[in-house]
Structure formats: structure tokens, C-alpha cells
Symmetry: C2
Subunit: 500 residues, 2 copies
């Protein structure tokens, strides 16, 4: 979930200066439209890890827009008056009216997350956190139903970046005051804090109240990203559709906006390769380990689901064969996912995947999967936005159910460059026995490369979770990719059995 926000996004000063000016004008215009229409109020939650620049971001938004129509609410320990009412009262009392933006710097998320990390034992229980998150879900659903635009920004720092940031602040006498004792404690519990936050964000990111995760390492990147995302959301919610005269479409941003062209895909090192001499030995070694692992006594009460997705011609089939070669085919089932059958089409989308779940001691390999909905169906328009947008949450719920039952979920995205894909397509077209593998559809998909890239990045951001992370595999070199795939499967199953 935070992968995208640990890529080291940066924007240089010149770019920032060039882009900030028009952004600011557009934000002011959108804010004015919001005010004049007086139809929607905006609840803007700013959360994130310590040192990621929450306060600076709020200051920047106030500087960029008309601060008279922004209400900024910071929350300190509750007052007497507040303590005498239910916990949500302090937030209700400052809800902005229609036409205005309420910034919640600290929010209803702060206490549940902090207490789940540092609180007394009973509050650290997962069920306790989940209960509070569900109250929040209902609250935000109600806000959205009442026409409030709910936007939640999470400013993220990698552990290394947080440490560096706090050290830099502490070194400078002018900023030392910013670093509190609490900040230092938070650094010590970074991992627990991030794991809990991930759970909170994942369960509460909905189409009507999305979390947008922004890397906070570089202030210029951060401010541009938040500003652009806010602008996009305001523009989606104000103004009228030209034809219908009805309020504009209600879709909200799915992920962080593209500010510096860095993505989880562009950050992948496609030059990774294995020299001839080492491939066979490495592959055999990992295959042997996989074979042993699946015969392990501990695996008899577990199961594994392997999801293979990737660019066309990235070599999914070959990689799958390298996995199955290591295993007894009685214990492995390959489910190729193409167009659904009549029976499948007549039932809820995930039914076709539930029916193939592995019994104990076995592995199901999905050659393409439920992610079709947020990839091909999204890009080709086979699914309405309302369908694929809610699919992220449904998929997370589905995988969560698997993992809670003890199933290991391994998700692999095989990636190649656009040029390499062209080379492989041409080779397939030239080679008799490979011609069946290349169709007009492949060429059509290829023309939509940028849309697919966007869909993949959103997918990783929304569905790469601690319990079921995505592994992106550089597949420019097939041998490298195959070893990486088998190795990933081994490591993930090993980790699961160790943890049991």
C-alpha cells in the first residue's frame, strides 16, 4: 500500500515554480465555484507519519487558496466540554457548512490508531481497532450520503526517511522545538504504527471517502501532489455536466496524481538479468526447495493461492511452468482465467474464483485472476467505474478472508518494457508454433499501454497489503523472472509456515 510512496518522489525548484502558479489559480477558481454553488462541503483529513509534513501541507493549502473560506481544525487533547460528550462530538461541532472546506489536521483516526499501537492491551486487540474503524466507516458513509466531499490525505515517509527527517530537524536549533519526545517514541514504533495505519487505511478507503497516499519526503512533490489531487476532486464535484445540466460526475481520485512520472513500474529495474551459467542451477535450487516445502507437514493444514498477472508476452506461462515443474500435479491446479462462462456470469463477480479455492495441502495457480476487473475490464470499459472502483475493497476483503483462513496469497506482476513487448510480438508472429499466441487483441491492448500502466499502479496502491503484497517482477530477462517467481513463492510460503 505504501510502496508507491517510498519511491523517492522529487520535484525540482524550477518545475515547482512553473507548476505551482497555474495550480494555485485553478484551486482558487474551484474554491470559488464550490462557494457559489453552496451544494457541497469538503471535509479534508490530513493524517500520516510524524515528520511527513502534515502541518506544512495544511499551511500551504491555506496559502494557495482563500483562507477565509477554509476552516482549519487542529485537535489537541479534548477539553472538559468535549469530554462530557460522545467522542465524535468535537468533530461534529466543527463540520464545515456547504460551500466551505474544513481541514481536519488530526481527526477521528488519530485516537484509534495511536491506541491500537500504544494503548492498553484491550485497545490493542485487532477487534477493538476494527470496531472503531467501522464506526468511522458509518460516519463517513453518512457524510458522503449527505453530500459532503470527504478526502483523506495520508502523508507517508519510509522508516529511513522519517529517521533522516527527525535528525535534520533536531540538528537545527531553529527547528529543534518541532521534534517532541513523542516523535522519537513514534520512530521506535514505526513498524507497528505503519502496520496499524495500513489496516486502518485499507478498511476505510472507499470510493466515497478515499485515502490518497502521498510521499512526504520532498516538500515540493508533496505539496504539488496534494494540491493537484484536491483540484481534481473539487473539479469532479463542482460545475455541471454540459449536456445533462445535472451535477458533475462524482468520481474521486483513486491514487496519488502523477507529478514526477515516477511510479512503482518505472522504478522497477528492468535490466536485471541472470547470466547463462547461473540460471539452471539457481532455478533447480529454488524448485527443490519449493517441492520440499509443499510436502512439509505444516503445509497439510494450509493452502496457497498464486496469482499471475502481467503485461501481454511478459512470460506468465513459462513462469507458471517453472513453478509446476517443482510440484506434484495432484496437488496443484492451474485455473486459466478468460471470459466467464454462462454459469459464472449469472453470479456475483468473485464466485468464479471462490469455486476454485484450494483445499488443504494444495496450491491453486490463477493464470490471470480477479484483478481482471481493475485491469482489462477497467481499461477496456467492460466494467462501469462504479463496478471496478468498488472491486478494490471487495478484493481486499476476499484476500483477507483467505489469509485469515491460513491460505498463503502470492501475487506476481510480470513486467517488461514496451519495446521488449514489440520484439516478442514480432517474434511470435514469425514463429509458426507461437503464432496462436498473438492476436489482434494483443495489438489493441498494446496501444493502450499508458492506461494499463495507470491501472497497474492504482491496483498496487490499493491492493498491495501486508497480508497479501504484490511482488513486481522484472521480466525483460525471462530467466531472471522465472527464478524470481519461484523464489518469491518459496519465501512467502516459508514465512507463512514459520509464522504459524
Amino acid at each position: 500500500m505504501f510502496q508507491e510512496a517510498e519511491l523517492g518522489h522529487r520535484v525540482d525548484k524550477r518545475t515547482f515554480d512553473r507548476e505551482a502558479a497555474p495550480l494555485r489559480l485553478a484551486l482558487l477558481a474551484a474554491q470559488q465555484r464550490l462557494r457559489e454553488e453552496a451544494r457541497t462541503s469538503v471535509v479534508l483529513v490530513v493524517g500520516g507519519v510524524e515528520g511527513a509534513g502534515k502541518s506544512e501541507t495544511v499551511a500551504r493549502l491555506n496559502a494557495w487558496m482563500d483562507p477565509r473560506h477554509i476552516e482549519t481544525n487542529g485537535f489537541r487533547p479534548p477539553t472538559d466540554e468535549e469530554r462530557q460528550r460522545p467522542p465524535m462530538w468535537r468533530f461534529w461541532r466543527v463540520l464545515p457548512p456547504k460551500g466551505r472546506i474544513g481541514v481536519f489536521f488530526g481527526s477521528w483516526y488519530t485516537d484509534p490508531i495511536v491506541e491500537a499501537v500504544e494503548g492498553p492491551r484491550r485497545k490493542r486487540a485487532r477487534a477493538a481497532l476494527d470496531g472503531r474503524l467501522d464506526d468511522i466507516l458509518r460516519f463517513e458513509r453518512m457524510l458522503a450520503d449527505e453530500g459532503v466531499l470527504v478526502l483523506k490525505y495520508w502523508l507517508h515517509l519510509s522508516k529511513a526517511a522519517q529517521k533522516a527527517r527527525l535528525e535534520a530537524l533536531a540538528r537545527d536549533p531553529r527547528t529543534r522545538w518541532r521534534v517532541t519526545r513523542q516523535d522519537r517514541d513514534r520512530l521506535a514504533s514505526y513498524d507497528a504504527f505503519v502496520a496499524t495505519s495500513e489496516r486502518a487505511l485499507r478498511r476505510t478507503s472507499r470510493g466515497h471517502a478515499p485515502w490518497i497516499i502521498i510521499e512526504g519526503t520532498d516538500a515540493r512533490y508533496r505539496d504539488l501532489a496534494v494540491g493537484r489531487s484536491l483540484l481534481e476532486a473539487l473539479e469532479a464535484r463542482t460545475g455541471r455536466e454540459p449536456a445533462s445540466g445535472r451535477p458533475a460526475r462524482r468520481r474521486l481520485p483513486v491514487g496519488a496524481p502523477d507529478v514526477d512520472r515516477r511510479t512503482v513500474l518505472s522504478a522497477l529495474d528492468l535490466s536485471s538479468a541472470l547470466p547463462d551459467g547461473r540460471y539452471e542451477a539457481a532455478l533447480e535450487r529454488w524448485q527443490a526447495r519449493l517441492g520440499t516445502l509443499l510436502r512439509d507437514r505444516a503445509f497439510r493444514t494450509r493452502a496457497a493461492v498464486l496469482v499471475f498477472e502481467g503485461v501481454d508476452a511478459a512470460g506468465k506461462g513459462g513462469a507458471i511452468r517453472r513453478v509446476t515443474a517443482a510440484t506434484d500435479m495432484r496437488w496443484v491446479k492451474i485455473v486459466p482465467v478468460a471470459a466467464p462462462s454462462d454459469e459464472e456470469r449469472a453470479r456475483p463477480y468473485l464466485w468464479r474464483f471462490w469455486r476454485h479455492l484450494p483445499p488443504h495441502g494444495t496450491v491453486t495457480i490463477f493464470d490471470r485472476s480477479w484483478y481482471g476487473r481493475v485491469l482489462v475490464e477497467r481499461v477496456e470499459g467492460f466494467a462501469d467505474p462504479e463496478h471496478w472502483e468498488r472491486a478494490y475493497g471487495e478484493i481486499n476483503d476476499f484476500e483477507d478472508a483467505l489469509v485469515r483462513h491460513g491460505t498463503v496469497v502470492v501475487k506476481l506482476w510480470l513486467h517488461i518494457s514496451r519495446a521488449e513487448q514489440l520484439r516478442r510480438f514480432r517474434e511470435r508472429a514469425r514463429t509458426d508454433y507461437k503464432q496462436y499466441k498473438i492476436t489482434a487483441e494483443d495489438w489493441r491492448n498494446r496501444r493502450k499501454w499508458p492506461q494499463y500502466e495507470q491501472a497497474v499502479c492504482d491496483m498496487v496502491e490499493r491492493t498491495s497489503t501486508r497480508v497479501a503484497p504484490w511482488t513486481l517482477v522484472a521480466a525483460e530477462d525471462k530467466r531472471w523472472a522465472r527464478v524470481e517467481v519461484v523464489k518469491t513463492v518459496v519465501r512467502r510460503i516459508e514465512a507463512a509456515l514459520d509464522g504459524a
Copy 2:
């Protein structure tokens, strides 16, 4: 929540025979339309207390409709195959396809409720139950989003009726086999079972997947009620709107259908009265007790919210004055609820009530309340159905937040007959100083008496909960009503302070 289903609903044999025949034909026609359109599948959950006739109801539905297109799924302890998959797998595998009805006799609710009552301690925790209910909520939301019609029938018996039913079954040698050891245990834990069920139903009854509670004491009433409600839902979901050509409206039933004209309001004994000689003394006694109670040390860290609703001219104002007469006005605030202000209209509906929540040691009296949304706004069409339908859930969440914070919530509905209202209206019109109290609007509301009655019954069914029950007060005799009101307030606050 179960008040309506403990009224002793009955249908005599003649009425049943007269009504069952056309109902059956209409159900068959609706079922055929469902099949031909093949656009929607129906998931029909049948749950309820032991002995309320779940099995008989399922048999009746199969007899009334074409059983070839109904898939009835009973659930026994999970099989080997099922245990090796996540718990929801057994339900996924039998989801009906479009055009068909799947009856779930026993369902995803069975385990969570039974374990919350009888399970090991960690499963009896409220947070554990809530966590499972939230998984269910997401599952049903997904079904509804995928176009499945989700209907949930809860067959209820009062404790006395359950006991009588089990005894009757056990006496007859032909039916003795039906009474299991488990049934007897359930009777012993009736209260815990019903309290847990209420929580489960309340949290999972949504517009897109409502619980419909039906009294199971009388088989004829029960079967007609379930049949009619199912018919209503099928007709709402099949066929097309004449004008638009779009699928029909998607509204589902809110409560049990009216089969025998018995409601919580018709069951109220309006002849209750206090003789002259006893009124003053009784009132003073309860007022004194209330005054003492509000000065109690224990009340200093609590608060109370009193909700007054009722038929026009039922005497809310007079009753409120009898409450305030007992108290120090520094500690009581009366909030008359009329049309919202500009400020209030610019914010989510409940904001205007949150802002008046009492601090510790005080009482807020709402003269009319948030229930306006499901009463006047519903009946007069000021709120769209989608708004007032979701209001039930929002109101329950709101009151739940109050109660969890330690606030006592007392909700009073003052009721008079239509004839008595007419008498009071005429008297007001005749009396100079009372003329201001009667407006054209009152006469207009009066003409919609049946619609208001329906709205009140739905409100009681959906929002009368263990933590915040409705008290219906017979107000035909004003003195009786006033004493009842003060007494109810005293008893509810006393119970809360005792429980603290």
C-alpha cells in the same frame, strides 16, 4: 425491535384460505417474471428463534411457488471440504444464479450469533461479534451491488410463546422428535439469545438487505406475512417502470406487511386513565423522585436526552412541563425542533441535534427530534425515500454513540385516537388563548393519519432497541400520560445509574 412481533398476531382459517389462493398465484407470476428476466437472483435468509417455524415457512414457500426454481440450502455442521476453505465458502458455492431464488435456512448469521451467546469467552466479546457482523455487512453490500436481491426474514417468538410451543411439541409423540436438547438449552438462554440477535439485526438491517421481523406464534399469520412481503419485494424488483423503460424501483419492504391490522399502536390501551383523586399525589411523588435523581452524585458524570414525539395535540407540551417542573432549570434545556435554520440546513442532518447534546449532569429535552426525518419528512415527501430509509441506521448509530458515552436516552411517543384529536382540535379552535396552537397544517396532517400510523410503526420496529427503547404512552387521558411520562423518565435513569 421485537415489540411488533410480540403482539399476538393471528389469522383465522377462513381469512387464510381466502387470501392464500390469490397470493400464491401472484407469487408464481412474480417468480416466472424473475426467471424470464434473468436479471436478478434472490438470496432469502430465514432465521429466528427456535420453534418459530423456520422449517415450516421454507416448506410453505416451496409449496406456494415452483420448487424447481427454488434452491433450498440447509446448513449442518461443515463438511471436510468446507472446513478446508474460508468459512464463507459454503455459502458462496450455493449462491443462486440470476433468475432463481436461493433459500438459506440457517446462514452466515447462525455461527456468529450462537458463538456470541454460547461460545468461548473471547467469542462472546461484543467486539468479536461486531467484527463478524461487519464482514457480513460487506458481503451483503457486495451481493446487492452485484444485483442480488437480499431478503432476510427473522421469525420471532416471545419467551412465553417459545416455551408454550416447545412444550406442545414435546407432549405430542408425533412431534417429540422435533424438540432437541439444544432447543431446551436455547430456551434457558432466551434472553441472551434475543439480546444478541437484536444487536445483530440492528447492525445488519440496511436498505439494500433489510431484516423483516415476523411473529411466528400463529402459522397462518406467519406464512401470509412472509409470502406477502416476498411478493412485495419481487414485484419491486421485477418488471419495468411504464414510462422510463428502466428496471423497476429498488425499494424493499421496511417492516412486516399488514396482515391482521394489529400494530404496536392498535395494541395500545387508550382507555388507561387516572381518577381525579389520585393524579396530583402520583405526579408529585414521581416528580420528587426525579428531582432527587438528577441531584444524585452518580448523575454528575452522566447525562440524559429525552425525546418527545407524538400525534398532534397529544399533549407533548404539557407532559414536558411536568418533567421540567421537577427539575432545576439550570440543568435542563428544552430544544423545540421546527424547521432547520440556514446554518443547520448547510450541514449533515444530525448536526442540529449533536450541537445540543447535554454536558454531564444535565438533561436535554427534544420537543420533536431527529425522528422528524422518518415521520413528517417521510409522510409529507420532504425527504426522498433514499434519505429517510437510511436515516433509521444513522439514528441507531447516533443513539448508540450516546448510550456508549453513558447518556440515558428516553424516547416517548404520546398517542391519542383520531376521534380524541378531533375533539381537541375543535376545543383549541374555540378557546381564545389556545387558537395559536392550531393551524391549517394540523388539519392537513390529520388527513394523512394512516400514513403517519405506518411511519410510527416502522419507526418503532426499526429504532426501538434495548439500549434506547421507545415507550408508547396512551395519552387519551392527559393525567395518565403525564404520570406515565415522568415515571418512565425516572425508571430509565434509575436503571442506567444502577447499571453503572
